[in-house]
């Protein structure tokens, strides 16, 4: 327990102090302070991970209750923290990669007026993400889950005077809320049935449950919806591309390396539940595969350097979910790790490019930058090779592990999709690389002023580049490291890394190489313009991301707005009704008033009417008139 709280609290402290004292801090201090705290957190995480691994017995878990969160309607829900090997991996990546990106940001944001705010947000994000992975039950997880969403909202909308950024932030938040609601419903279901939402409590029950009941399917589906929204699985993926409106380090940290993989974390965490819900489990793999190929197709013709990376992130997330779907949990975690390395490298390098080009992101304005920014180019190349699955770069190993297990478990179609997508990945990534760094500069003016990034930015990029080079070597270690976690409860038996058939590997790598060659031929030899291919049938749709945005608008958003507009009429009716009744009564009263004519004889008449009425009533009542 001790130690976890410190890891958690340090970044929060950073966020709080920077927010409170940003006016008093000298210019660079917030960045340094924030980076320092995250770095310390990283170091503490290492110690904690060691503690976990040294625990006796098979249960490598540190857990403890901070306080009683809510009670009164059943067994209390505690504010519980929980560290096991699975969360430990995330812990390391979050704090480690997070620290590097913090450092990088010191350089990247140095001339932005909102720099302290940026670091406060970033620290807040680290805190939330740590809370998410250190959560000991689903409620605390959901709190972390929502807070990272909030942090993401802050950071996407960091430049709040850009309407597009603001809109993107809102979209991200609302879509993530959808996911939150899914988790909320799912965990409420679990609580109702099992009187608790703690992982250990639930998993112990799941271990003894029989799979296949509708209850488990629904619960798993609801929780998966949460993961879908957070990890941008189809059809809840649009927000991630728009999220590139935020500063590039944010894209690297949140929308590539860490936050978007929370869904993978959740699904890996819930492997005992997935065992019980085979249909949902399959669905996860199918949607993952579809997302992978779907996003890859969109990435083909993107014109914006960050958009390409964003869709490639989507595609890679699809791989991870494909891994979850075929029970390749360790492989998914492995891919998460390598992806964190190479995608962070790619984004940060892209950030350096954008930084070097004074904020330009359009591929049409780049080209021939390799001479101007060699370190960046080098790192980018390494990461590109890694993501394309070229051995011996890290991506090769992790992707291979997922595909291998997909094949082994008999999901041949999913496997085929994965293989094909790997080729597509290689194509668009190399297209990106070539368009950015090789060939002739397409904008001489920008090219003139382009420059390599300062050291504070380059060093993290290079470190991450190195990690993406060698990351594949962690596979064996990870396999051992995670096995206690996945063997603790039923359902994780197939989690360990496996290797697929040799022909599969050859096919994958071969496809990647072919794709590389095609890209080389197209964009280096023939020097095709970035826009080429976007004016004809598939290209147009690919560029427009298959029109999913407008589909959402048509199917969900606009009907809701129209319903709201229609209800405005109802509301006017209700409000007018209130006034109407009141003024109706008033008018009635005014109409009634002239009864009072002022003529005495009329009054006498009225009295006489009353006499007749009363007389008749009494005579009838006593039976005189019958």
């Amino acid at each position: 327990m001790q130690g976890l709280v410190e890891i958690l609290v340090l970044p929060l402290l950073g966020a709080a102090t920077i927010t409170a004292f940003k006016g008093l801090m000298p210019k660079r201090l917030p960045g340094i302070w924030a980076s320092l705290l995250v770095a310390v957190s990283f170091i503490l995480s290492i110690f904690q991970d060691r503690r976990v691994s040294q625990l006796a017995g098979s249960h490598h878990v540190i857990t403890g209750v901070l306080w009683n969160w809510a009670t009164g309607f059943g067994p209390a829900i505690h504010f519980r923290l929980y560290l096991d090997p699975l969360s430990a991996v995330w812990l390391l990546i979050i704090t480690g990669v997070g620290a590097l990106i913090h450092i990088y940001s010191i350089g990247y944001m140095h001339d932005d007026a909102g720099e302290p705010r940026f670091f406060a947000y970033l620290n807040f994000f680290i805190f939330s993400m740590l809370l998410l992975v250190l959560a000991g039950n689903l409620v605390v997880l959901l709190i972390g889950w929502a807070l990272v969403g909030l942090a993401s909202y802050f950071l996407i909308g960091f430049w709040y005077d850009r309407p597009t950024a603001v809109a993107a932030a809102k979209k991200a938040f609302v879509m993530n809320t959808l996911g939150d609601v899914g988790i909320l419903l799912g965990l409420a279901l679990l609580y109702i049935h099992y009187h608790g939402v703690g992982y250990q409590h639930l998993f112990a029950i799941f271990t003894h449950a029989k799979p296949g009941s509708a209850f488990f399917e629904w619960t798993a589906l609801l929780l998966y919806i949460g993961a879908m929204a957070k990890s941008a699985q189809f059809p809840l993926h649009m927000w991630l591309a728009d999220a590139m409106e935020g500063p590039t380090p944010v894209s690297a940290l949140i929308h590539a390396a860490t936050m978007v993989t929370a869904g993978v974390y959740l699904m890996a965490r819930l492997y005992p539940l997935l065992r019980l819900a085979p249909v949902t489990h399959e669905l996860i793999g199918v949607i993952g595969a579809f997302t992978a190929i779907f996003a890859a197709s969109i990435a083909f013709f993107q014109q914006d350097i960050k958009k390409v990376l964003a869709y490639s992130t989507l595609s890679q997330l699809g791989y991870m979910f494909l891994g979850i779907g075929v029970s390749a949990y360790t492989a998914s975690v492995f891919h998460f790790m390598t992806h964190a390395f190479f995608k962070a490298t790619l984004f940060l390098a892209a950030g350096s490019v954008i930084h070097g080009l004074a904020g330009e992101q359009d591929l049409g304005q780049m080209g021939g930058l390799w001479k101007k920014m060699p370190w960046t180019m080098g790192s980018f190349l390494v990461a590109t090779l890694a993501i394309s699955g070229i051995p011996p770069f890290s991506g090769y190993f992790s992707k291979e592990a997922i595909l291998g297990q997909a094949f082994n478990s008999g999901h041949y179609i999913l496997w085929a999709i994965g293989v094909f997508t790997a080729g597509m990945t290689a194509f668009y990534m190399f297209r990106l690389f070539f368009l950015t760094f090789t060939g002739k500069p397409r904008n001489e003016h920008l090219h003139e002023h382009a420059h390599e990034a300062p050291l504070v930015m380059t060093i993290p990029v290079v470190i991450l580049g190195v990690l993406s080079l060698i990351g594949g070597a962690f596979g064996g270690w990870l396999n051992r490291w995670l096995s206690p976690a996945f063997h603790q409860y039923a359902g994780g038996s197939a989690a360990a890394l496996e290797s697929g058939p040799l022909f599969g590997t050859i096919l994958t790598v071969g496809l990647a190489v072919v794709a590389f060659l095609v890209a080389y031929w197209l964009y280096v030899k023939r020097d095709t313009a970035p826009k080429a291919g976007t004016d004809k049938a598939p290209g147009v749709w690919m560029l427009k991301a298959w029109g999913m945005d407008s589909a959402w608008m048509t199917v969900v958003v606009n009907p809701l707005k129209m319903l709201g507009t229609a209800l405005l009429t109802v509301e006017r009716g209700i409000l007018a009704g209130v006034v109407g009744i009141a003024s109706g009564v008033q008018a009635w009263a005014s109409d009634l008033a002239p009864i009072q004519t002022g003529y005495v004889r009329r009054y006498a008449l009225s009295i006489m009417v009353g006499v007749v009425a009363l007389l008749a009533y009494y005579l009838i009542r006593i039976g005189f008139i019958s």
Binding site: A593, T597, G598, Y599, V600, R601, A604, L605, M608
Partner: protein
């Protein structure tokens, strides 16, 4: 022997006539007279029933009615005089400023 119940019928008729008088005549004096007639009708019925019960109480009541009528007429005429003193016609419908 006088048929007492017929006297009650006569009283009812006089009562109705008085009521009509109040309702249809426009001269306040005549309305007032008609009202007096209603009182008289009641007094007649009282006396008739007193005769039937051989009890003086009805007659006492009739006496009180007559005495009260005297007082009421005094006040009523005073009011009518004070209201119509300066008016051209004795028309009750002219006195209808208060309404609504």
């Amino acid at each position: 022997m006088i048929p007492l119940n017929w006297i009650v019928g006569l009283g009812a008729a006089l009562f109705a006539i008085g009521a009509v008088g109040v309702m249809v005549r426009k001269n306040p004096l005549i309305m007032f007279m008609a009202a007096e007639m209603m009182w008289n009708a009641a007094a007649l019925v009282f006396v008739a029933y007193a005769r039937s019960f051989h009890a003086m109480s009805g007659q006492v009541m009739a006496f009180i009615i007559i005495g009260t009528a005297a007082a009421e007429v005094g006040i009523g005429l005073a009011i009518i005089v004070s209201v119509y003193h300066h008016r051209h016609r004795l028309d009750i419908d002219e006195v209808s400023q208060l309404k609504g």
